[in-house]
Structure formats: structure tokens, C-alpha cells
């Protein structure tokens, strides 16, 4: 069933259109930076963007930082929200469940499909960022890449940490995928499920900026999204990365369980 869902995801034009759309903004930013040579002021802008003018090899990370706060979660919310509700909306869910499959297995297959989409999207953004960085932005300075802490970062370390960052960004979307999947089991409208997920993320972002909500911060799904930046400090700040992974794993477990509880007893009419 997982294979069927993966093939279906890869064959959908929507998958590739979404991935292409995700890459538009990083491309536009790279072109603008290349033409104007105006980076963001220190302390502002997405991660690494201030550094890419002098070192284009960091642009894959900057590109991930550009899409991570908004565009990637929206894409995941749309794809995840469509997982069950989309089938119900088009009237195929009833036929899907006619086959001898457990509803829990169907949920897992849908989740794997969403995660595969996220991985594909993140890798596409990183690879496109690498090409754009090399072609449009600054070359690596003599002496190699500089870590955020000002120390040397050799090519091997840069590649390893970049791969870790891709994995971390993918993991960061697990919570979004699980929430979207849960909403998808509650409604027959894919757009409603996606909007519900986006609403959760907006609420999380608002609470994150509120000092009064300090005690809630460790539990917010968006809290550790940008902690992939910590992989490029010296020494690496693992505390935030590990917390980010645990937070996403927690959302995954709880909302997947909730999706299962909702879907297992759902009265499928369409």
C-alpha cells in the first residue's frame, strides 16, 4: 500500500508543480542578491542570507531558511490535508476501503507519502540552492567555508552538516504532516483540513513572539524549526536540535494516534 501511495504521489502533476513553486522564491532572491549585491542588514532576514554574498556554497541553507517558515509548511499542510479528505471529497475513499486494508495501515501509507513529498521538496530546494549559489553568488573564499562561530568548516564537515540540515528540516515537517493528517480525518474537505493546519501553525508563530506565552514555547510546533542553523555553529548546539526532533516526534505520535482514533470509527459515506 505504501508503494502504491508513493507512486501515486510521484505521478501527480500537483507534486511537481508544488516543488517547482517552492523553488521560485529562492531563485528570485538569488537573482536579486546577485544583481544588487545588497544583503539583509545584520540580525535581519532569513538564516545565512547575509553570508551568501561572500560565500555561495551556503545558499542551499539560505534557500531552506527562506521556504521553511511559510511556504514549505503550507505545501505540507495542503498535501497532508488532502490525504484522507481529498479521497473523501472525490468519492474514492469508500472504494479505497473496500479493499482488505486496515484503516491504520492506510493512514501510515498516507503519512509516508507526505513525508516522502517533504523530503523530495527539501532536497529539491537544497540542490537548486546549490546550483544558484554557485552560478549567481559569491565563490567560497580562499581558506574555506567559515562556520557561524568564525571557525573553519572543511568541505567534508560542510557536506555532512548540510545533509543533517536536510534531514532536520524534513523532520521538522513531521508534526505539520501529522496535524494535517488528523484534520484530514475530521472533514471531507481537503481545503478545510489544510486551512486548519495552517491555523495551528499561525497560532504557534503568534504565541512564539509573545513573552506572556513563555511557558508554552517548548511545546509549540514551530519553536525549533530554524534550529538547523545550530548545526553550523562551533561547537554544534545539539540541545535545540534534539529538542526540535523530540518536539516533532511528540506531535507525530500524538496526532497520528488522534488521526487513528478519528479515522478508525469514521463513518465513510463517500
Amino acid at each position: 500500500m505504501i508503494r502504491v501511495e508513493l507512486i501515486q504521489m510521484l505521478r501527480r502533476p500537483r507534486t511537481w508543480i508544488t516543488i517547482a513553486a517552492l523553488n521560485v522564491l529562492p531563485l528570485v532572491v538569488a537573482i536579486l542578491l546577485s544583481v544588487t549585491e545588497l544583503g539583509p542588514r545584520p540580525g535581519t532576514g532569513p538564516p545565512f542570507l547575509a553570508a551568501v554574498l561572500s560565500d555561495g556554497s551556503l545558499y542551499p541553507l539560505a534557500a531552506m531558511g527562506i521556504v521553511l517558515p511559510l511556504f514549505l509548511p503550507i505545501a505540507v499542510a495542503v498535501v497532508g490535508g488532502d490525504a484522507i479528505a481529498g479521497e473523501a471529497q472525490t468519492g474514492t475513499l469508500r472504494y479505497l476501503l473496500v479493499r482488505p486494508v486496515r484503516r491504520g495501515h492506510l493512514l501510515i501509507a498516507k503519512l509516508v507519502s507526505v513525508v516522502a513529498f517533504v523530503l523530495l521538496a527539501v532536497v529539491a530546494v537544497a540542490v537548486a540552492g546549490l546550483v544558484e549559489g554557485q552560478l549567481l553568488l559569491g565563490r567560497t573564499q580562499v581558506g574555506g567555508v567559515v562556520s557561524i562561530s568564525g571557525t573553519d568548516l572543511d568541505t567534508q564537515a560542510l557536506v555532512q552538516r548540510s545533509l543533517l540540515a536536510v534531514a532536520y528540516v524534513t523532520l521538522s515537517m513531521l508534526g505539520v504532516a501529522a496535524v494535517a493528517l488528523f484534520f484530514s480525518t475530521l472533514t471531507d474537505s481537503a481545503i478545510a483540513a489544510a486551512l486548519g493546519t495552517v491555523g495551528v501553525l499561525i497560532a504557534s508563530t503568534v504565541l512564539l513572539g509573545l513573552d506572556a506565552a513563555e511557558s508554552l514555547r517548548p511545546f509549540l510546533p514551530t519553536r525549533y524549526w530554524l534550529s538547523f542553523v545550530d548545526l553550523f555553529r562551533d561547537p554544534i548546539r545539539w540541545t535545540e536540535v534534539v529538542r526540535g526532533v523530540l518536539t516533532q516526534a511528540s506531535y507525530l505520535v500524538v496526532f497520528l494516534a488522534a488521526a487513528w482514533a478519528s479515522f478508525a470509527t469514521k463513518d465513510v459515506k463517500s
Binding site: P40, P42, G43, T44, G45, P46, P47, F48, L49, A50, A51, S54, G65, Q141, V142, G143, G144, V145, V146, S147, I148, S149, G150, T151, D152, L153, D211, P218, F219, L226, V229, D230, R233, P235, R237, T239, S250, V253, V254, A257, A258, W260, A261, A264, T265
Partner: protein, 365 residues
């Protein structure tokens, strides 16, 4: 399995997932039976206790963004996330981190290094104890030591112990009796055994603290010299700076000898420098000589604040517990600032009239 059972299982799963985070928060802190003066002594003598961790600070003061203040406006008016490796008072590193980069400050003996990722600027310079407040001053341990410096035993009392980011900490309250200070009270919590402060709250009369600093992921083992030091990549252009900041530069090069006492506060710190550091603990002020051009800029910047008060001798401004005054004294212009009342700062300004000129030093300034 019935629907209610399934949802009950979801609730159990959620509780199990949350418990590792919630349980340490609700666990009672270990009771501490140490007296307030004894705990204060431990905090004061914790400068050479090694530790590492993360520190978050929340400042609520709208300090005017005067160039001469360096990063003080950010330190006291914004939230900061810091990474700290503290080997001892002379060997430490504090990184101010953000999602877009980091700014580092490290000290190794009499040398200091700074690094800014976003501007790719690295500097090394001679460390100066007389300088503007920086990130190392808002660490709970450093701030607690500073606040308790010179505090009278009668001003101290114990607060209930509590867990600060999971770390059991003994509580202490300082209510300064000196009428010259603007700080109404300081609440702090510290590791009972080592005296390393885990949280400090500074109040200036209001219900809420004007500055809060909290340590998390506290590790009370001495960090390695490698982690606490600084080593720049070959690609980084490291520059030598003449001084750590404007105050350190003025202290080293300005041609003045400040008086031994102003507003009844005795001069402390570097007695050979041109910057006057007066008082200690919660009642402290700095008198920094400014170059004429910088003084003009500072005057214009202070004047932009609606709360600024101009008089014949200078201009004054009070921002929460921080009072600021720009005053002409002798052949120079001094920026006075500190956690003292505006009246105290006025008197300090008058007393600065006895500042002496030191010929042959920094006359090109």
C-alpha cells in the same frame, strides 16, 4: 476497541509524551537551609566556578540608542539568547545567537576577541574591566555577583527554593536600603552548593522585572579551553582593535583624572584610567569622558527623547532604573550613567567639576 477507548488511549499517549518535559517542572526543589548572607557570599565568590549552558535574557527598558552606549540598548531593551562557556573570571566565551547568525565575545586572560557572523568581522583587543556593559554582564551569575557586591546583610532575605529550568535553586532577595539607587529589589536563585546563579530578576519599583536573565541546560563542569576560547578560520580577516568599546578607549586614552568621590560614592575599579567608576552593587555609576564630536552626537541623540530634560549644564534622561546625564566638566564633556536617582547623577555631575586634566595623554583626541 470502542471509540471512547481509542480516545482514552490518545490521551494516555499525549500524557506519556508530555511527562518528560512536565515532570521536572513540577518536582519540588530541594529545600535549602543556608542563611541569606551565607548564600550571598557563595554567589559573590562563584566567579571562578566553571559552568556552561544557555542563557535567555528579557529586558524591557527603552534605553535611547545613543552610539556611545554601544550595545547597551539591545541588552537592556530586548530579549537575547546566549551560549556560555565559563572556565573562570578571566577565561570565558559568550555567544549571542539568533537564527540569522551569532555575535561572540571571548576573553582569554588580558585579551578579548569579538566575532560577528553577519558582518564577518573579527577583532582582538586588550581586555578592559572598565567598559560598557556587554553580554557577559547579563549572565545570571555575573549579574548576581554585581548586584550583591557591597550589599548589607540586613538588606538580604531568603526566598523559597525553586526549580529554574529544572535546576534546583536556592532563592535570595536583596532590597537595597541605599536611597540613591533606583533598583527597588533583586530576586535571584542560585545553585546552593556552588553559588552559581541560575536566575536573576531586577525590579525598579514596578510589579514586573525590568531585566530577567535565566540559565538553562546548566552544566556545572568546567568547560574545555577549546570550547571557551576563540580560533578564527583562515578566511576570516582578524583586526586589532584599539579598545573593547568607546568607554574602554576613553579610559585608556582620554586626558582626565576623575575625582575620587562623586555624590558621596567612592571611586572603584581602575583608578589610573580616565573613566570614573563609582559605587558598587545596585548603587553604581559611570562617568565616561567623550570626545567633543561624539558628545555633540550624543547630545543630539538624547535630545530626541521626549523624556530628556535640558538645563544650563547639560541634559538628563531617566529610563526605568537607568539614569543618564551629559555634562560639561573641566575641559571635557562627561557621559554619566548608572542605576542611581537623577538627583544623585546631578550631584555627581557637579562633583565632576573637580576633574583634573592630565597633560600629554590623548591630546590628539
Amino acid at each position: 476497541m470502542t471509540s471512547p477507548l481509542r480516545w482514552l488511549l490518545v490521551v494516555v499517549v499525549a500524557a506519556a509524551v508530555l511527562s518528560p518535559v512536565l515532570v521536572p517542572r513540577v518536582l519540588p526543589a530541594a529545600a535549602a537551609d543556608v542563611s541569606a548572607p551565607a548564600l550571598a557570599d557563595r554567589v559573590r565568590s562563584s566567579a571562578d566556578v566553571g559552568w556552561s549552558g544557555q542563557v535567555s535574557t528579557v529586558g524591557t527598558l527603552a534605553v535611547p540608542d545613543v552610539d556611545s552606549f554601544g550595545g547597551v540598548a539591545d541588552l537592556l531593551g530586548e530579549s537575547s539568547d546566549l551560549r556560555v562557556w565559563w572556565r573562570d573570571a578571566e577565561h570565558w566565551r559568550v555567544d549571542k545567537t539568533s537564527s540569522s547568525g551569532e555575535s561572540d565575545l571571548a576573553r582569554r586572560g588580558d585579551r578579548a576577541a569579538t566575532w560577528s557572523f553577519e558582518s564577518r568581522r573579527a577583532t582582538t583587543t586588550r581586555y578592559s574591566s572598565v567598559r560598557l556593559p556587554d553580554t557577559s554582564d547579563v549572565l545570571p551569575a555575573t549579574l548576581a555577583r554585581r548586584m550583591l557586591s557591597g550589599a548589607k546583610d540586613a538588606d538580604l532575605s531568603r526566598l523559597p527554593a525553586k526549580r529554574v529550568e529544572g535546576h534546583s535553586s536556592a532563592g535570595l532577595r536583596l532590597v537595597p536600603s541605599d536611597a540613591r539607587t533606583t533598583i527597588s529589589r533583586v530576586d535571584l536563585w542560585a545553585d546552593e552548593k556552588t553559588g552559581v546563579a541560575t536566575r536573576v530578576e531586577v525590579y525598579a519599583g514596578g510589579r514586573l522585572p525590568v531585566l530577567t536573565t535565566t540559565a538553562a541546560h546548566l552544566d556545572l563542569a568546567r568547560p574545555s579551553a577549546e570550547d571557551a576560547g576563540f580560533s578564527f578560520a583562515d578566511a576570516v580577516d582578524v583586526r586589532q582593535s584599539y579598545a573593547l568599546d568607546d568607554a574602554a578607549g576613553a579610559n585608556a586614552f582620554a586626558p582626565f583624572v576623575p575625582p575620587d568621590r562623586v555624590a558621596g560614592l567612592r571611586r572603584t575599579g581602575d583608578l589610573d584610567g580616565a573613566v570614573g567608576v563609582y559605587g558598587r552593587g545596585t548603587t553604581a555609576l559611570l562617568a565616561i569622558p567623550l570626545r567633543r564630536d561624539i558628545a555633540r552626537e550624543a547630545f543630539a541623540q538624547l535630545e530626541e527623547s521626549p523624556a530628556a530634560k535640558r538645563d544650563d549644564d547639560g541634559i538628563s534622561l531617566a529610563v526605568g532604573p537607568v539614569s543618564v546625564r551629559l555634562e560639561g566638566a573641566g575641559r571635557g564633556v562627561f557621559l554619566l550613567t548608572g542605576t542611581v536617582t537623577p538627583d544623585t547623577l546631578d550631584r555627581a555631575g557637579e562633583d565632576l567639576g573637580s576633574v583634573r586634566f592630565r597633560p600629554g595623554r590623548g591630546e590628539s583626541r
